[in-house]
């Protein structure tokens, strides 16, 4: 090792090698495998999150559609039947044919 000037711009190989050995982290392969496995887990988790978000939206949309359909069906059944028109009443067969004949007879007999 040499006495370097302050702010020497050259790396010190002796100190550098000693520090490198002191900080040697060991098995690099295992570390890389660990990081990549964790990255895969994060990717899968992010997809789960996306799917879960879409699932929530889907359930909400289905509920809205069901509510709308229920409202429409209920509204349709609650609507009153249309009143028969005069023409309908004249065309329709009489409910009590005898009464009509009596009325007609009385009109004919009393002009």
């Amino acid at each position: 090792m040499k006495d370097l000037l302050p702010f020497d711009h050259r790396p010190d190989p002796v100190l550098g090698n000693a520090l490198r050995r002191a900080l040697d982290p060991g098995d690099a392969t295992a570390f890389v495998a660990r990081v990549l496995a964790r990255a895969e887990q994060l990717r899968a988790a992010s997809w789960d999150t996306v799917l879960a978000r879409w699932a929530r939206a889907g359930v909400a949309a289905a509920l809205l559609i069901a509510l709308a359909a229920g409202y429409l069906v209920g509204h349709a059944s609650a609507t009153p039947a249309p009143q028969p028109s005069v023409a309908d009443a004249l065309i329709a067969p009489p409910a009590h044919p005898g009464e009509v004949e009596i009325v007609l007879a009385s009109v004919i007999e009393n002009p």
Partner: protein
């Protein structure tokens, strides 16, 4: 320290040529912009290449900050995964190494702060006081232990600076990018760290 995704200073100067015996740990980064682009697009092999390429330096920097190898690996892993999430923020015109190592040093520092809150961790003092020298076969291991202890007495920024400069071969300008401090401050940090560590090595030699 600013966010690692923030715009970085102008591209740093290349490191000086390697000296004989110098640990040539500097990682070439010619194809890293392309690797990052592929990783952003979901190419797992590209991300794997980046992790493989930077695992060593990331773990060493984290260990310089944290001391404990398990904590250091956890911090390095967190940083790698954080970098994966932020990859789309990386500017491919800048060198990748300093960008990543800034995330690593932030992750290690954050972990150390959280750990300090959980338990007060007294620093070892009197590290250069000598003591009985272990047998020759354990010499290297013992020296490593004393160097780690000596590193632990330095401020974090100083540790990172000396490791990146003397171990990893990064330039002062690149280290300034990593630490978010002026280049002159990096020079000062490296100088003070070296003085402390060299004293330890000198004592070790004298004891031998």
């Amino acid at each position: 320290m600013a966010d690692a995704g923030a715009p970085l200073p102008p591209s740093p100067t290349p490191p000086p040529p390697s000296q004989p015996g110098q640990p040539a740990a500097r990682i070439p980064g010619q194809d890293e912009g392309e690797l990052v682009a592929r990783a952003v697009a979901g190419d797992r092999a590209a991300f794997g290449t980046l992790v493989d390429r930077y695992a060593g330096v990331a773990r060493r920097v984290a260990r310089a900050v944290l001391g404990n190898p398990e904590d250091a690996d956890d911090a390095a892993q967190d940083a790698m995964l954080s970098a994966l999430v932020k990859l789309d923020q990386y500017d491919p015109r800048r060198p990748f190494g300093p960008w990543l190592l800034r995330i690593v040093s932030n992750a290690a520092t954050d972990r150390r702060r959280r750990r300090s809150v959980r338990r007060a961790e007294p620093l070892d003092v009197g590290l250069t006081a000598g003591g009985p020298r272990p047998d020759v076969t354990a010499e290297r291991r013992a020296l490593g232990e004393r160097l780690r202890q000596a590193l632990a007495t330095l401020p974090e920024r100083r540790r990172i600076a000396v490791v990146l400069f003397d171990v990893e071969g990064y330039s002062h300008a690149e280290i300034a990018t990593v630490l978010g401090i002026p280049e002159g401050t990096v020079r000062s940090e490296v100088f003070h760290a070296r003085r402390r560590l060299r004293a330890l090595l000198a004592d070790w030699k004298e004891e031998g």
